[in-house]
Amino acid sequence: MKSGFRQSMSWLHTWGGLTLSWILYFVFLTGTLGYFDTEIDRWMKPELSPENANLQQSLITAQQRLQQQAPGAERWFISPPTNRDNPHLRIFWQTPEADGKPGGRGNELLNAATGQPLTARATGGGQTLYRMHYALHYIPANISYWIVGICAMFMLVAIISGVVIHKKIFKDIFTFRSNKGQRSWLDMHNLLSVSALPFHLMITYSGLLFFVLTYMSLIVSDTYGFGEKAHEQFEAEFFSEPHNISVGGNKKELANLSAMAAIAESHWGADQVRYVDIDHPGSQHARVKIGRQLDSPLRASPELVFDGTSGELLTNNAAITSTPKAIYDVFLGLHEGLFANTGLRWLYFFSGLLGTAMIATGMVLWSLKRRPAQLKKVGGPDFGYRLVESLNLGTVVGLPIAIAAYFWANRLLPVDMVNRAQWEAHVMFLVWLACLLCPLLRPVQKGWGELMWIAAVAYAGLPLLNAVTTNRSLLHSIQQNDWIFAGVDFTFFSIALIFSIAAYKVQERTQISPATTNSSKTPNIATQQETA
């Protein structure tokens, strides 16, 4: 470590940033895709056509089906297709404990018009990708939370130390100078970091907050004491969840749900019902809670509570129950962006990509800075340096290729395959592994351009593959005004375009630079030639 505050911060930024950058890149990229998890879900289940049924009809269908499937349940939950995160009618039920046996759970996707269960290919969908960004894969979730938490802490340290070492953070805010070698990479790294600094800080800090009770569980114990009971008391007070008292009571039929939903809509306006949650359906003590769509960063819905048998409105629960809970909910809500409409969702997606690119440019900078000195070494570059270089290539370009492979697997794996959804993820990680190993076969410098071409082809092929293997080609989607399907296809084409431009640029550069990279005394020749 070096002396001086800024120098030591610089050291911290460089090495702290590098150490976990590969996992952070993975977390940022899969998390960014998570903003469009529902859209990806829909693309990966091409058998399901868009749902057009309205709320009333959906609730009638759901109520009938739940009556058939789970008449004695202690809880029903209905997510109508008006809920943006569930584009199809989804029902869920939970049966009570009986004779010492734990209660069962079940859920179904329904066609809201016919009431028939929807069947689609087995797929991990966007949810598996989204889950990876905090629970990783192949590793038990409770270990993954810690790994991701430590990575997020490193990220936070890298962001703050980055602000400290950036001397001209305001003066250089609009500065990017191309064709200046390492200088350009630093400019780009700064531009990506500073222009979306509020997002980077928010997403990292709130990411830590999600598992704050895991990371700092002793804080709860300090006030509430140890043991399961203390924890339950804390949960009940903080999340204001009522204790589950099993209500016996006489049997009585549940009132019409759509009538209650109509009352909710008269309070909130059309299309504002996010969910219908029924406690003890079929009992005289049945309660129906109807929650509102999220329309602000506060990640909690106001609820209307109805008497389940008479359909009478009992109470109006506010979304905010306590100030600490509200602050927590706002951070979590900002992170997830569930309240975001399409425009804001694209901004979230875009900001996430900026963060991903920030990490990638940081990784490239690390190796670029050390390259001249490493090349001068007798016997070639160190093992450590070559390892970082290879990991950078295999991750920065390899992971996007692996994600493309995940989508390819969704279309190509046989529909009746055993463990199909798991194999989609296996394909993704196998391809990533192959990309990580590719520097064993090819020189890293050439590998960048080649892998980028592979990525471009892999993404450009996806809409074509979709057109061949399903009846929902891009043309068809546009004709049907299905902008979710068309949007995913267009996004694949755009990614392919970006990768091919990048590949072209990289290859143009590596064709010129061998002369210069060998003699580090004249590092400016390459840039002079390019500008000429």
Binding site: F174, L192, S195, F199, L347
Partner: protein, 108 residues
């Protein structure tokens, strides 16, 4: 969202033009006078406040900052890239965006 982006972009453009090096990128043969720089800086900040106020009325005080920060990131990136690759286009695009937004808003 289009008008908010236009305000954000114009704000950043004027703020960047108040800095000598960016002013020189756009007008290589002119000199930036300090009185003009002060005026540009004031105008830039005023546009930024206008963007915040306008988006607040449109999206509410809770959501507007989230949207505005996202749009500011986009504006900063697009401006920085333009200043490097096509500096002359930077003010032109501000005019085009303003015109389109104006036309769009009067149509509604």
């Amino acid at each position: 969202m289009l008008l908010t982006y236009t305000l954000a972009y114009c704000s950043f453009l004027t703020l960047s033009m108040a800095m000598n090096k960016h002013f020189q990128q756009i007008f290589p043969h002119k000199k930036l006078l300090s009185i003009h720089a002060n005026f540009l800086r004031f105008f830039g900040w005023a546009l930024l406040v206008a963007a915040l106020m306008y988006s607040s009325t449109l999206y509410g005080a809770a959501t507007a900052p989230v949207i505005l920060l996202g749009l500011l990131s986009a504006a900063a990136i697009s401006l920085a890239l333009l200043l490097n690759y096509r500096p002359k286009l930077a003010p032109l695009i501000a005019l085009v965006f303003s015109a389109v937004t104006l036309w769009f808003n009067t149509m509604q």
